[in-house]
Symmetry: C2
Amino acid sequence: MKIPPVKGTRDFYPAQMARRNGIIDGWKKVSIRNGFEEYDGPIFEYLTMYQIKSGQEIVEQLFSLQDRGGRELAIRPEITPTLARMVNQTINSLPRPIKWFAVPRLCRAERPQKGRLREFFQWNIDIIGENLGQADAEVIFTALDYLRMVGLTSKDIQAKISSRKLLAAVLTDIGIPPEKLDSLYAVLDKKAKLPAEAFEAVLAEQVPDRNQAKKVLDFMALDAIGQVREVAGTNETIMDAVRDVEKIFAMLEWMGVGEYCRFDPSVVRGLAYYTGMVFEVHDIAGELRAICGGGRYDNLLRDFGGPPIPATGMGMGDVVLEILLQERGLLEKQAIKPPLEYFVTFAEQLLGSDMYRLAAAIRSRGHSANFSYRQGGLSKQLKDATAQGARKCIIIGQEYVERRQLVIKDMATGVQESIDVEQFLSRLSS
Amino acid sequence: MKIPPVKGTRDFYPAQMARRNGIIDGWKKVSIRNGFEEYDGPIFEYLTMYQIKSGQEIVEQLFSLQDRGGRELAIRPEITPTLARMVNQTINSLPRPIKWFAVPRLCRAERPQKGRLREFFQWNIDIIGENLGQADAEVIFTALDYLRMVGLTSKDIQAKISSRKLLAAVLTDIGIPPEKLDSLYAVLDKKAKLPAEAFEAVLAEQVPDRNQAKKVLDFMALDAIGQVREVAGTNETIMDAVRDVEKIFAMLEWMGVGEYCRFDPSVVRGLAYYTGMVFEVHDIAGELRAICGGGRYDNLLRDFGGPPIPATGMGMGDVVLEILLQERGLLEKQAIKPPLEYFVTFAEQLLGSDMYRLAAAIRSRGHSANFSYRQGGLSKQLKDATAQGARKCIIIGQEYVERRQLVIKDMATGVQESIDVEQFLSRLSS
């Protein structure tokens, strides 16, 4: 009986696993150096949790299941609802701001295509308990700190930054009624994904007034926050949102990632829960989906039954990132593949038990060691060592019988040295 | 709207995450030093994959789901079927023996109780392509190498080792027909979990002949492989299995973990697919479920549509292990919680942007740094540094304005030093 893997999932053989480990290790390293602490939640939650605020697209893509008691569960499609639940449960004992990161495995029942799988890993960072632009800038900086570390330059990628607060102020100023904003966001988010004519057609459905629609399009075409300042006139709500965005840009400039960042009001984000800054990082060639995205979500904790605590964060999936790193020749550099340090062999039949003893002693000192299970001749064992890519080969032979000397062969250079077994082991320990 | 977590799952707040990371890191470290390479598969597979060979208990505990095409899937309750599928897919290009490990997240829809949750992590190691006892011993050694590394002694834990091959030979010798063996294994596996009388009652259902049942009980009460040798007489099938077990014990002795190991024919294992060596590690006090278990499964790859390739392996869950480590006072030692190295503050209002610059520079050199988002006075910032447990505090103050000198304060000792900012950064880089 031969059963295939499920479409849209990945098998991580050691070579793929080394790349996945490299990416996740990088995410963890950058999170920690930016002062974030790691958390995680369960792989499934109650289905209703995702129906509150996740946005229609995500709800349609849920993998739902039942437990034996008939309760409706779902595999997590994102971790933010879990984060909100966990923070709400312990809000009074947590210091603020809460700076947390996670690298959850997520599942979405979507049609597998380039850059989209049904199962993937997503780096999440969130700052909770702080409504200042500094926290927003910190989120964007941390994402860029990682992307810069792996070798992506401002010629490869760009952070497109906008603000839902600014967008709301502008749309209100244009005359869009407040109750239409949420559905309009979902439409505006499609701008980059649709041809211009198609986008204008769906926009016309939401904003039938041609003059208003033109103003929306004009705003979305701006490419510097200063231009908004010019058109805002005396509208203080808009100006307030403009100053917030400017603060974020100033801090990103100070922190040395200004060259990666651009104001782009066409970035809206699909999720329903954003309330302030929103951003996406894209490849400059524009060939891929967003590499990461996020923003401020000041109402989510309250919507999940907690107190009204501001929050901001972002998520970066591994699928698009891996494609981009591969295209730029940066993926293999990330791979973490620990080498096999020693291969223990014996030249004299009676010394088999010493081989086991020595291999165990090397391992217990924290170094990797293998040996041949089949006790063939020395040349067969050395062949196994080569096949397994061992760095060094240890030969237990005549010298060992006579005076406890091991022969250590460097497999790259072929150079051999003799060393007393105790001396060798104490060298490993130090 | 307040939604609780699903019962039997865990929230990993940073303190719990540090412990989980510590345990998983230890597993990975020991796997690598024993020459294993990491792999992983998807969190869900086709439901049918688990119905082939996983044993009735596991099949009853599956979390099943459907994809949008109506295909029946299940969250993985174990990773061995995935391993068999992955190896079979690429068997011709893989070097042998295959020594692989994984640390999958697994889910089982069981009633949560002490040592059993509905979601857990399980360390798996497997050696595929080798039918020698050396591979079996290597699996047991690797499990013990980890348990010994974290501080568990032979006074805390014991590896109970037996053999399905031996058991089959003995049961056949007693007169049990071959077609009854599989269902009898499931009963014998209950011996340690039931009171003696209850066990004898269920045994009597499977083996109505009192004389035969007594022989089964007598065999299961043996506690040294030498005793089997005595009772085996001239039965060569039994003697062959005895010699296999003896080889495993000899190798474990040579590798320095002999004191942890004991022959125990009452260890049978619940899973249907074992064919040779079986083992479990238990706490000596006998208060907990098995810490780990495994064995040889020479037919599984063939049952999954592949060639007949021998294999042996084991799994160790994190739930029982964590309870044991906690009881022995060894859990907190495992926790990996990277400290916050630097907290950057500024004493002069105009220097806020330098604070961001410096924090970014420290981070990009691979060190962790935080700062206060709210630009309060220095004493408020130092309070934040203490609250976040920073090791060192950097003060950007008057000395910095005058001659680019930073003040670095050791938060544990209170000792302060002044250093030129460039010198400080170049010290970080080296």
